[in-house]
């Protein structure tokens, strides 16, 4: 595997893949605008409705449906930042969004864990969040951290405890997948402010961001959207994610599903901009199929031709994109399915140019954690990363003089040029890790040992004691106020 100690190795590539032409992008955008103008999106939030009413959107307070004229859409979208920084606890891990660089994180948010001691499935808990945050902190494939599983032992304030335990085990940017509602998010902002020292510092280098999901078709979640407004006010980035299921909650055609999902995202983004112009927002569509016989959720059908077309749609709006990857439906740690479904994901999503991508390490459609799965998935990630690197063609790498000195029929092992490059030129996959006898090791055994090694040896710096003390006080207050 690649060198993985305390560095981040995002996918950097000069290559681009266009899945959609400009006419198609314009047609999709026109469909979105038409849906927003004619059909509208439901916002079950008085706060959101009030913001739209003030800006002359067509608001039906009874149905809570908002229809947004295209002029208002374009005006609001003009303030969305295309690039910004996701701050980290360790400034070296700050992520500056930029063209040609794709940052990956782990998957989320699972609810079951295959316990590494008992081998049995059990409900996830806070200690699992901390464990995976520590593993994430060590791995170079991980540019930032997601809530990998939920802290089910912490009840309604679990999102705050997940953030706390992540900070105590991880020094990268943290993107919460679970924080919802105005009250929780205000506590979240307070914790981030304590961590950074001031709200101004939070704005400059936001140490957290938040995923908010829409409800297809064309409904916003009250708790999600009101929480997002709180974070937007503090300059904390939001990812608006739509997960349309084709055939049930979305049209059974790609274009229709994408346009409808886009309308959900753009309506939320417009709200965010009207409330706080310049609020950083990511665009994300993770579409899936409903099996036409059983209605079962199918993330990986045979035809996945537009899996990463939403990235281009985001960029067409001038927004950064979050792409979804590694969501295998296999419940097995290392089956053919668990690798085959996801293998092209990191390649395609990076070629499409997504700024951030989730997420490695879960099985059973984002629900089941084997702690060692992230090591196996990191191997797939690094294969993609190396595949997309620009090739170095220079007199030194062409080595014509070396070829001349070997001559036909010889070999290159005696060449100093070979000695210089052979050791590092071949990048070892997890299948090529050597044991002491020079034999290739079993990859799963290797992955398990690596997890054990990281947990025994990698201890990221926790927040300073005075900061942690304040965070603990905030958590205690939240627990008291919000716990039923």
């Amino acid at each position: 595997m690649s060198s993985e100690r305390q560095i981040i190795e995002p996918i950097r590539t000069p290559y681009k893949l266009s899945l959609l032409g400009n006419d198609q992008l314009n047609d999709l955008q026109e469909a979105t605008l038409t849906i927003l103008e004619n059909t509208g999106v439901q916002f079950p939030s008085e706060k959101a409705l009030a913001i739209f009413s003030e800006r002359s959107a067509d608001v039906d307070h009874e149905s809570q449906v908002v229809k947004i004229p295209r002029e208002l859409v374009f005006k609001a979208m003009s303030t969305v930042p295309r690039y910004f920084t996701l701050g980290a606890r360790n400034p070296e891990f700050d992520l500056k969004l930029q063209d040609g660089v794709t940052y990956f994180t782990n998957d989320g948010c699972g609810h079951e864990v295959v316990d590494s001691v008992t081998g049995q499935r059990r409900a996830s808990r806070q200690s699992d969040v901390g464990m995976m945050a520590r593993i994430n902190d060590y791995l170079s494939s991980m540019a930032f951290s997601w809530t990998m599983v939920s802290a089910q032992d912490r009840g309604v304030t679990s999102p705050l405890h997940e953030m706390d335990v992540t900070w105590r085990n991880n020094t990268k940017h943290y993107q919460s997948v679970t924080m919802m509602g105005e009250k929780l998010c205000r506590y979240g902002v307070e914790m981030a402010t304590v961590l950074r020292g001031s709200l101004e510092e939070v704005r400059k280098r936001p140490p957290i961001s938040l995923i908010v999901c829409t409800i297809a078709p064309l409904v916003q979640d009250k708790e999600a959207i009101e929480g997002a407004l709180v974070l937007g006010e503090a300059g904390i980035p939001i990812v608006v994610m739509s997960m349309p299921t084709m055939g049930t909650t979305a049209p059974a055609t790609y274009a229709g599903a994408l346009a409808m999902a886009d309308a959900e995202i753009i309506s939320a983004t417009v709200l965010m901009q009207l409330a706080n112009p310049g609020a950083p927002v990511f665009h994300s569509i993770l579409h899936a199929w409903a099996d036409p016989r059983t209605a079962a959720y199918v993330g990986y059908a045979l035809d996945a031709r537009v899996r990463y077309a939403p990235v281009e749609m985001a960029h067409h709006w001038g927004m950064p994109a979050l792409g979804g990857a590694f969501g295998t439906e296999s419940p097995e740690l290392n089956s053919w399915q668990s690798a085959a479904e996801v293998t092209t994901d990191p390649l395609l999503v990076s070629l499409a140019g997504a700024e951030i991508v989730t997420g490695l390490g879960l099985r059973n459609t984002y629900t089941l954690l084997y702690p060692e799965a992230i090591i196996l998935d990191s191997d797939i990630y690094h294969r993609a990363r190396h595949s997309l690197l620009e090739m170095d063609v220079s007199p030194e790498t062409l080595a014509v003089d070396v070829v001349e000195s070997v001559k036909p029929g010889g070999h290159f092992l005696s060449q100093k040029h070979t000695r210089k490059y052979m050791r590092t030129a071949m990048k070892r996959t997890i299948l090529q890790q050597l044991d002491s006898a020079g034999q290739y090791r079993d990859p799963v055994e290797y992955a398990r040992e690596k997890v054990a090694w990281i947990l025994a040896n990698h201890h990221p710096e926790s927040p300073p004691a005075d900061v942690q003390k304040e965070i603990n006080q905030i958590l205690a207050t939240a627990d008291k106020e919000l716990k039923v």
Partner: protein
């Protein structure tokens, strides 16, 4: 004197054949004992290379270039050995790739590993008929003959080699070890070879067994 032995050893460890050659000449000019130059210099150097390879610190190029350096040194020092002087070796080995097969690297690696472990290796090269192995075995009074074949079409020559050694009256004194991508333990037994090794590292263990010497 000790300094010169150390320099010779270091030039092998560093994989600098030109330096080894220059140092060997200097040593003779200074009147140093060529046998000691070999045993205290070159051999210690190649043993260290073997250790570094076994521990994973050295990779194949370092191993091969180290062996090249030793070879350069031996070419200068061995002709200068005095009277009955002979360097001590585990066993004499003849190595080559069989007739019709031009693949070199496998047997070169085996030769390097054997050299690093104290065997004296005569590498007769690629595309060698059975008679060439027999002649070389007689010439150096070999204990082991190793034959490499990378193709299913050329591995048949390994059987011919076993027969040729028998016909020449060299078996069972001379042991035959075979290797190469299509060769298996079962095939080795079938053709009457004395041993098969999957790679260069296990070839060393096999050679020690065949030479009846402690590894």
């Amino acid at each position: 004197m000790t300094d010169m032995f150390e320099k010779l050893a270091q030039s092998v460890i560093d994989g600098e054949p030109d330096d080894t050659s220059t140092l060997a000449k200097e040593a003779l000019e200074q009147g140093l004992d060529p046998l000691k130059c070999i045993t205290e210099g070159l051999t210690k150097g190649i043993q260290k290379v073997g250790e570094l390879f076994a521990s994973g610190d050295y990779f194949l190029p370092e191993l091969i270039i180290g062996a090249d350096a030793m070879k350069e040194g031996l070419e200068i020092l061995e002709p200068a050995l005095l009277g009955e002087q002979k360097r001590e070796v585990v066993a004499q080995v003849v190595l080559g790739t069989v007739e019709g097969d031009l693949h070199e690297i496998g047997k070169t690696l085996v030769g390097t590993m054997l050299t690093a472990n104290g065997f004296q290796v005569k590498d007769i090269g690629v595309d060698q008929p059975a008679s060439a192995f027999v002649d070389a075995a007689k010439e150096v009074d070999a204990t082991i003959v190793g034959a490499s074949a990378l193709l299913t079409t050329t591995m048949l020559q390994q059987e011919k080699l076993v027969q040729a050694l028998e016909e020449a009256g060299l078996k069972p004194k001379v042991k035959v070890m075979v290797g190469g991508a299509p060769v298996t333990e079962t095939y080795a037994k079938k053709i009457g070879a004395d041993g098969y090794a999957e790679d260069a590292i296990s070839a060393v263990d096999l050679a020690f067994r065949l030479a009846d010497a402690p590894a």
